[in-house]
């Protein structure tokens, strides 16, 4: 064909065609994503967009991805390499699909399930298509597989090493049966995993069309050139940052099992056109589930770097080459077997992102933001609906306030930096679950004061309905002490998060340790709440940027008029004298 003539011209590559092939790589991943959204059962894919779609060459280089979920950045970079190293490249045959969810093999946490399919062209392995998706329920000690007081991976759900769930296009039904017997909602597992696997077939077909059209050799060279192009661009971005070693320390209030703060420490070194991110100095691995896997730590570093560099750099392996990560095994930034890690992906990831940007803040002030609320505010509950008699389970999240920037206020009420999830309308919530929402509104003064103000968190109060009993678990942070979202350049910290309870007939909200004797005020599992009990979920606010007294007076007046800042805070923190 005519196009193959193009491929045969040595050393020449059409820059327009290069752009088109790059678009094709991304479009193949997007079509994979649309197929997943279309065919999945759980809202976690269709609404939460909690998945990523990726394309690899035969050496395991990522050549294209569709940007669905930042939490899976590293997993989607490493899965093929780590699987191929373990199984061997010769073990793949056309029509195979490998499944795994092992957090110690590049995953982010155990609910994250990767599926990988080799793509052959004219009998030769060209590369792989893969996707990583969060399965909603995978067994373990807590409903929703989110055990906030887990001390071992075995309590967090069913762990699966790399195994062929499909061999030469035949389902391995024994394996399917084993998996589904260990999940609480097997109907969703079947539907969602099949959506993931089905999307790989779509991507394989489109990739083969591309290889047919331009020739496998030409596409490989285009992929190489595109990776070099991303690498050059990323190196140019890093070179623009002044050389030096920049450090930052932050804390998590506790790990859910032991009531002690957990230390995180990072040194970001800029050395010409490369960046070294070293987590040495972080606390040893803790007993509770806030440990980060290597996949979480690496993903957080990439997420931070993408936030402070040009976000249009094509996201292929080349863009990652100038970034080096040191995360000592056995610390909270690189958990080893059998340490628990489910909350590392939701609570620790955003904290690590903020730390990298915080370290770079002195030399990149125009690009960074103060800390965000950085808690997914995980609240999980389940029970039998008193009106229908049916079992239900729900994984509820809240958006937090985001950090202010040199040029703008932070966003209010936005899902953490590693997620995409949207929120559930109150009217949908009330048709599904036996809880009434009493209040859902922004919390005045929760945005850290500053020349630019941090975003506001929200308060949600829910009451357990007539005849209902729910079993609830939670994984929050930033609820006490000096662990609020920090500000920059004199900006003040954002408001506290909270999860509180008011028993039926009582008139005040109290903490879970006070009422139920839990170790942690923010992380607990399987607490039973009954009719008339109320729960208050406060999402933390974002940090401020710059001295609040320098805030534009009209902006302060607007805040007061809008009720986002109270008059008292405006006078005390912003030095406002208006009326």
């Amino acid at each position: 064909m005519a196009q193959q003539a193009t491929a045969q011209r040595e050393g020449e590559m059409d820059p327009v065609l290069l752009g088109i092939i790059n678009n094709n790589f991304v479009n193949i991943c997007r079509e994979m994503g649309i197929t997943m959204i279309r065919t999945a059962f759980s809202p976690i894919f269709s609404e939460g967009l909690d998945f990523s779609c990726v394309l690899f060459d035969r050496r395991g280089n990522m050549v294209g991805q569709a940007e669905f979920c930042p939490a899976q950045l590293a997993a989607s970079l490493f899965i093929v390499r780590w699987t191929v190293e373990e199984l061997g490249v010769d073990s793949f045959e056309p029509g195979d699909v490998v499944l795994h969810n092992d957090p110690y093999r590049g995953g982010a946490h155990i609910p994250e399930h990767s599926v990988i399919r080799p793509v052959f062209h004219e009998g030769e392995l060209w590369g792989f298509v893969a996707n990583v998706g969060h399965l909603a329920e995978i067994g373990g000690k807590a409903v929703g597989s989110f055990a906030a007081d887990a001390t071992e991976v075995f309590q967090e759900g069913l762990r699966i090493p790399p195994v062929k769930i499909v061999s030469r296009d035949e389902n391995n039904l024994d394996l399917w049966r084993l998996i589904m017997a260990n999940h609480r909602t097997p109907r969703n597992t079947w539907g969602d995993l099949n959506a993931q696997i089905g999307s790989l077939r779509v991507a394989e077909r489109r990739l083969i069309e591309l290889l047919d059209r331009y020739g496998a050799g030409y596409v490989t060279r285009a992929a190489d050139e595109l990776m070099d192009y991303s690498e050059r661009w990323m190196r140019a971005e890093i070179s623009a940052i002044p050389d030096g070693a920049y450090e930052f320390t932050d804390w998590m209030e506790d790990d859910g099992v032991v009531d002690e703060p957990v230390r995180f420490h990072v040194t970001v070194t800029i050395d010409g056109d490369r960046m070294i991110v070293d987590w040495t100095g972080s606390s040893p691995q803790v007993r509770g589930p806030i440990n980060a896997t290597y996949g979480v730590t690496a993903g957080a570093v990439y997420n931070a770097v993408f936030h402070v560099t040009d976000s249009s750099i094509p996201k292929n392996s080349g863009a990652y080459r100038p970034i080096h990560i040191i995360a000592p095994p056995g610390t909270v930034t690189n958990v080893v077997y059998p340490g628990p890690s489910v909350g590392g992906n939701t609570e620790t990831h955003p904290k690590l992102v903020d730390m990298v940007t915080g370290a770079l803040a002195p030399v990149m002030r125009e690009r960074v933001a103060a800390a965000e609320g950085a808690s997914a505010c995980n609240f999980l509950f389940g029970g039998v609906h008193p009106k229908t008699g049916q079992y239900y389970a729900n994984y509820h999240l809240e958006g937090c306030g985001w950090g202010a920037k040199d040029y703008d206020d932070g966003n209010d009420c936005t899902i953490v930096v590693n997620g995409n999830c949207r929120n559930t309308p109150v009217e949908i919530f009330e048709t599904r679950y036996p809880l009434e929402t009493v209040e859902y509104s922004l919390i005045a003064d929760s945005g850290g004061a500053g020349r630019h103000r941090g975003g506001l968190g929200t308060r949600r109060i829910m009451r357990v309905g007539e005849g209902a009993e729910i079993t609830a678990s939670a994984l929050f942070d930033r609820t006490k002490g000096e662990f609020r979202a920090w500000g920059l350049e004199g900006g003040l910290p954002g408001g506290y998060g909270a999860i509180l309870v008011k028993r039926r007939g009582e008139d005040a909200f109290r903490t879970f340790p006070e009422v139920f004797g839990t170790v942690s005020a923010s992380k607990f599992t399987n607490i039973v709440l009954r009719e008339g009990d109320e729960v208050m979920l406060d999402a933390p606010g974002g940090g401020g940027f710059g001295d609040p007294r320098d805030r534009d007076r009209e902006a302060v007046a607007h805040d007061v008029a809008e009720g986002t800042v109270t008059e008292q805070a405006a006078r005390e923190l912003y030095g406002w004298s208006g009326t």
Binding site: Q3, V16, L17, R30, W233, K405, T414, I415
Partner: protein, 716 residues
């Protein structure tokens, strides 16, 4: 005897179409003038009147119908010139309009979202609360309503939107608030959410409500002025305004629910496409093939779908960006805009790759070749450089194009890429087409439609430039390009009916359906629909119909699908089974899976009332030419051939049945058809172009340029 006139106001051009009794369509086009919209319309109408041997006044006097598609409402929202509006909401929920439904589109950038549609200081919490079953567990505190009305008025509110939780199940509190507003602030326009858009999901309903309320004073003034002006100019027929449903309403109905005029222009393109598809492509049963409706404007490429003879609708119209802007929440013809129009700008990123769009030169300054101050290279400039557009005869000679300006605009890109001007222009067209192809694939695949199985209906002044390579990339073999393509939406307005939907929420599960309750709901919406049709006295209708639908989903699913009901009532288990079967089919088409045996959760019941209007024929030409004259010769550049001499035809002179082999160009007064190599057109009996497109292999690639160029650019 009488003419029918329709107008579509676009971002770049305002299109005017006049249909004669015989079905001949006369098309006029004028640049949209934001300052004085009537100026452009008047000029275009005057030209058409001259073609008909009339003056403007006698044309208007002899016209029986005038359908007006206006962007007045959309512009008022974009420019922030709507009425100052207060929002009344349930106590405890003041931030519904700010929080929206969450979500972020850019994973690696904190993108600021615009403030809520109504600021918090104009938001008033009303003490009351219904539960999901409509029981008022907190009674309405009328004192809190009176305080809110008083304060809103004191703060200068010119309209009020009222949206309470669960008002769709029990509207008593909203109704009472309406009475209290009428009593204590007489004359102040207000909108009650359960009347306007009774859907579940508080943000969508609240957003509909406040947008609608904020438009009431604006549209009232605008439409009264329009009626007066037209009457003074001599028009005594029936005035209609286009709606986002793809239908026409009388001004009074638009004043009542002005939100339905938002986005009305683009919604008319699928109406026209369906009309042409039925006339030109239908099988024996009268159903046209599935249609992909492409309408290219200056800034966007709009895509709509028709499957099984039905236009696709959606309730996901966002103003100012998906998820972060403001949703209209109302049902509208599903038209998705891709940022790739004739004005889209070509640029090189800091890494060295070339891109086209989404930034556009729009109408002002427009492409460089328009000679109105634009200097950046656009798709239209590329088309001039490649010989696709005739600089001396664009829009029937109404706008002279400046080829030298197009060349100057492309020179920097060509230099940076080390290409000839023609290759750079070709790259811009190719990338613009690629963007469109990628977006179309997403749109069709997510609707469960295979792009290679559709027929494209192409409209808009610029669509003929690259619709052939777009069809080829999609694997789509057939394109219908109406001769009236340049004014597809305005033609749609001529072919539209009076359509309105009436909706009521009642939650029901099909495995334990309370037939009496559901039928009571259906009777309620039906009587509203009947009352609407009865109110259309004086409208010249040739028929009326009611269609019944339900929005339903499988157990515990997130989103609903709209499914037709087997009749006006559910008479028994067999009707429920038919409903379930219909849902399984729709679910399988849209989501590729079905779940036999699963029950449905039904949320919203609706009836669509249609009064069919008299419509002109689909004929595209005023008189039949007998014999095609010899075409001109012109130079045009194609990737496969480089610059070659091609035939350039004057479309008006082509008799039906003429076959034209690409490469060739056909010039129409409002559009240009570029037949790339590997395509051929036949002129249909109605005067439209039916284009057959060969599969990709027939086309040869562009000559490759040096790889080093990219490295140099990226390294610098």
């Amino acid at each position: 005897m009488g003419y029918r006139i329709s107008v579509d106001t676009g971002g770049t051009f305002t299109d005017v179409v006049v249909a004669t009794d015989e079905g001949a369509l006369h098309i006029g086009k004028a640049l949209t003038t934001y300052a004085r919209a009537s100026e452009g319309i008047g000029n275009a109408l005057r030209d058409i009147a001259a073609e008909l041997g009339l003056d403007l006044r006698s044309l208007l006097e002899q016209s029986r119908q005038f359908t007006y598609g206006t962007t007045r409402a959309t512009n008022a929202i974009v420019e922030g010139t709507t009425a100052r509006t207060a929002f009344f909401t349930t106590e405890g929920f003041p931030d519904i309009l700010l929080v929206r439904e969450g979500g972020k589109l850019e994973p690696f950038r904190q993108v600021a979202y615009p403030p809520p549609y109504v600021p918090r200081f104009l938001t008033f919490e009303i003490r009351e609360r219904m539960d999901a079953e409509g029981e008022a567990f907190i009674a309405l505190d009328e004192a809190s309503v009176l305080r809110a009305v008083e304060q809103a008025v004191a703060l200068g509110a010119e309209a009020i939107g009222v949206c309470l939780l669960w008002s769709t199940v029990n509207p008593a509190h909203e109704q009472r608030i309406g009475e209290l507003i009428a009593e204590h602030a007489p004359g102040l326009p207000y909108t009650l959410s359960h009347e306007l858009n009774p859907i579940v999901r508080e943000y969508r309903r609240a957003s509909s409500t406040v947008i609608d309320a904020s438009l009431k004073p604006v549209m009232q003034d605008f439409l009264v002025a329009l009626e007066t002006d037209l009457a003074e100019a001599g028009f005594a027929g029936q005035l209609f305004v286009s709606t986002s449903f793809g239908g026409a309403w009388r001004p009074a109905e638009v004043v009542e629910r002005p939100i339905y005029s938002v986005g009305s222009g683009p919604s008319m393109a699928p109406v026209a496409a369906l009309t042409y598809g039925r006339a030109e492509l239908a099988g024996a049963d009268g159903t046209p093939p599935d249609l992909l409706v492409c309408d290219t404007g200056g800034t966007t490429f709009d895509v709509g779908l028709v499957s099984d003879g039905d236009i696709h609708y959606s309730s996901e119209t966002w103003l100012g960006g998906r998820w972060i802007g403001h949703i209209t929440g109302t049902r509208a013809v599903d038209v998705k805009s891709i940022g790739a129009g004739g004005g889209s700008i070509a640029w090189i990123d800091s890494g060295g790759l070339i891109h086209v769009g989404p930034r556009s030169a729009g109408a002002d300054p427009g492409p460089a070749c328009y000679g109105r101050g634009g200097t950046e290279p656009t798709v239209t400039d590329a088309a001039v450089l490649l010989g696709y557009l005739d600089p001396s005869n664009f829009l029937g000679g109404r706008l002279a194009l400046d080829r030298a300006a197009a060349e100057r605009a492309f020179a920097p890109i060509a230099e940076q890429l080390g290409m000839t001007i023609e290759d750079a222009a070709q790259a811009a067209i190719r990338l613009a087409s690629e963007n469109i192809v990628g977006a179309i694939r997403e749109i069709t695949i997510s609707q469960g439609i295979a792009p290679r199985e559709v027929t494209i209906v192409a409209g808009g002044g610029a669509s003929g430039l690259n619709i052939v390579p777009i069809a080829r990339e999609l694997g789509c073999a057939r394109v219908l390009l109406p001769r009236t393509a340049g004014a597809l939406s305005a033609c749609g307005a001529l072919y539209s009916d009076v359509v309105s939907e009436f909706t009521a929420s009642r939650y029901a599960e099909t495995h334990r359906l309370d037939l009496d309750a559901v039928n009571e709901t259906l009777a309620g919406v039906e009587s509203q629909a009947q009352a609407f049709l009865a109110s259309l006295d004086g409208v010249e209708a040739v028929g009326q119909r009611l269609e019944f639908f339900v929005d339903a989903r499988y157990r515990a699913q997130v989103w609903e699908l709209t499914v037709p009901l087997p009749g006006s009532r559910l008479r028994g288990p067999q009707d429920v089974a038919a409903l379930e079967a219909a849902f399984h089919d729709v679910h399988e088409r849209v989501f590729a899976v079905r779940e036999p045996g699963q029950y449905l959760e039904c949320l919203t019941w609706k009836v669509r009332a249609t009064a069919e209007l008299v419509k002109p024929g689909v004929g595209g030409r005023t008189e039949e030419p007998l014999e095609a004259p010899e075409p001109e010769r012109a130079a045009a550049h194609f990737p496969a051939t480089g610059t070659v001499e091609v035939a350039r035809y004057d479309g008006a002179a082509l008799p039906a049945g003429t076959e034209i082999e690409g490469p060739a160009i056909v010039r129409e007064p409002t559009t240009t058809v570029v037949l790339h190599p590997g395509s051929r057109a036949v002129v249909t009996s109605a005067g439209h172009y039916l284009i057959a497109v060969d599969p990709p292999d027939a086309a040869a690639p562009a000559a490759p340029a040096a790889l080093e160029v990219v490295s140099e650019v990226a390294g610098s």
